[in-house]
């Protein structure tokens, strides 16, 4: 399901964070968002996940659509968050067991006692964590390593059965092996859900993203096929950012 942004403007109090952003993240592929720190990438994801509005002073103009459905008018926040899930930069273990971390969402929506085990196993298998944790499902999730915890975060989100998943720099605190695992996982997930990833790593965008959006100071400067955008940017500002930082 496509995620469409139309003239999206977001303010925190007097601060104008996103300016007239219009873009379409296509279904069943990975789209990347790149840009310098503080350009509004995370705010963009949080606006789509509808958690930006939790911050006092949040104000929005413009629309966000999921498969044509207005996220802010047609859905309530809780449903919207469940449909477009988000994985944060720093993986956090909820203060409960590994299994309960995965089942955190389903337990709220209501899941049959008999199904719970199966859901937990399916989600943990999907993120390739099952073999590592199957013997300690009821031990606290906080004992896991960084890479494991990030995969657990993804399993927790998969249990919601979302239509799209947003990733906010999911690899920034991980080692090379864990990064590879996560990237393979993202490619696999893109077979059935819309995946949007914020990354600081241009090589990562090259490796996994079909489309890439370049965000500078809250404005969407360019959007298009990753390879083309990264090697032949059209605008001066894009060139400054892309080639300036490579020297």
């Amino acid at each position: 399901m496509n995620i469409t942004l139309r003239n999206l403007n977001v303010w925190y109090s007097a601060c104008h964070i996103l300016k007239d952003v219009g873009v379409e993240f296509k279904s069943r592929q990975i789209s990347a968002i790149i840009g310098p720190s503080g350009c509004g990438k995370t705010t963009l994801l949080k606006s789509i996940n509808r958690t930006a509005e939790l911050q006092p002073g949040f104000r929005r103009k413009g629309d966000i659509l999921l498969a044509g459905i207005d996220l802010y008018r047609a859905l309530d926040a809780v449903t919207a968050r469940r449909s477009i899930a988000m994985v944060f930069q720093n993986p956090i273990a909820l203060p409960m067991s590994i299994k309960e971390n995965v089942l955190f969402g389903p337990r709220y929506y209501g899941i049959a006692r008999t199904e719970a085990e199966a859901v937990a196993e399916r989600c943990l298998r999907e993120v390739a964590l099952w073999d590592e944790v199957k013997d300690k499902l009821s031990s606290p999730a906080s004992n896991l390593s960084g890479g494991q915890l990030q995969r657990l975060s993804i399993a927790r989100v998969l249990a919601l059965d979302p239509k799209a998943i947003l990733f906010d720099e999911p690899c920034s605190s991980l080692d090379i092996r864990s990064i590879r695992q996560i990237e393979e996982l993202l490619l696999k997930l893109a077979d059935r859900v819309t995946v949007v990833i914020v990354t600081h790593n241009l090589q990562q965008a090259r490796r996994i993203a079909r489309d890439t959006a370049l965000l500078l100071e809250g404005e969407l400067v360019e959007f298009g096929e990753t390879e083309k955008l990264l090697s032949q940017p059209q605008k001066e500002r894009s060139k400054d950012f892309l080639f300036g930082q490579l020297g």
């Binding site: 956090i92 909820l94 999730a141």
Partner: protein, 285 residues
């Protein structure tokens, strides 16, 4: 940069001051406990803990059992009154407390009450519970007065521990599409348990040692140790105060203080166990 002798001197001095101020507190505690054991330790016996006060002047001989029972009763009841209400108030303040001016004012008033002199709370308890509501000098009046005394402290501490748990998990929890209630019950409160236990423990210590509020609402010099809501009770801090202010027995005053301290130590250990259990359960720090 060269390490001159002046630099080494200041470094050593700084280190000494840091260590020294850190060691000062345990040293004071050690001194107090040592003093109590030294001066009152000999009096402590099973008989002292398990019998009624005796003697020509009451307290000069015999034990302090009614005072132990009275203090336990006062602590238990006052916590039963204060803790649930404080928890609900703290949840409200942590979750909704910054939404309106009235909420902020409420919090300011509650934290302001933390410093209220306990003798004022005692006078209030006397006027309202003892006289106006007619509960008389009784366990009930004393517990309610103590509950009012510890309430602001409990609320302030509980709010802080709930807030720090909420801040850590709010964004993540809500991003998973659950309600605030669900997040509160499944994540925030369990994660806050160690902090809540600490708050309760501090309140218990505060209530156990408070003398002024119970002097005028609950405590008597002698009781037979029956614990009834409508009857007055003996209490350790008040007994202690009588023993040394009336020059009955300084040695027994020290011993009584030692028992009070021991009681608080037991509470501390219990709290430590509960916290460890909660941490093992949730894996939080």
């Amino acid at each position: 940069m060269k390490l001159t002798s002046a630099r080494i001197f200041w470094d050593r001095l700084g280190l000494f001051l840091l260590w020294g101020s850190g060691l000062l507190l345990p040293a004071i505690l050690l001194f107090i406990v040592g003093c109590l054991v030294w001066k009152g330790g000999r009096v402590i016996s099973w008989e002292f803990l398990s019998t009624l006060p005796k003697g020509a002047v009451l307290g000069a001989a015999g034990g302090i059992l009614p005072a132990i029972k009275g203090t336990l009763g006062l602590i238990g009841l006052s916590m039963a009154f204060a803790a649930p209400v404080a928890l609900i108030t703290a949840v409200y303040l942590a979750e909704y407390g910054y939404s309106s001016r009235a909420d902020r004012a409420l919090y300011a008033i509650i934290t302001g009450m933390v410093g209220l002199p306990s003798i004022l709370t005692g006078m209030f308890g006397y006027a309202v519970f003892v006289v106006y509501l007619g509960f008389g000098l009784s366990l009930l009046s004393g517990s309610l007065t103590l509950a009012i005394m510890v309430f602001p402290t409990l609320v302030a501490l509980m709010r802080n521990s709930i807030l720090s748990a909420a801040d850590k998990y709010r964004a993540l929890g809500l991003s998973l599409g659950v309600s605030r209630w669900y997040l509160l019950l499944r994540v925030t409160l369990p994660a806050a348990v160690p902090g809540l236990v600490s708050a309760a423990l501090l309140a218990i210590g505060y209530a156990a040692g408070a003398t002024a509020p119970i002097m005028v609402t609950a405590a008597v010099i002698m009781s037979r140790g029956s614990i009834e809501l409508t009857q007055p009770v003996m209490a350790l801090p008040y007994h202690l105060y009588i023993l040394f202010s009336q020059h009955i027995s300084l040695e027994r005053a020290y011993a009584t203080a030692l028992v009070l301290l021991g009681l608080l130590l037991v509470c501390n250990i219990a709290a430590l166990v509960i916290r460890k259990m909660a941490q093992r359960e949730t894996g939080s720090l």
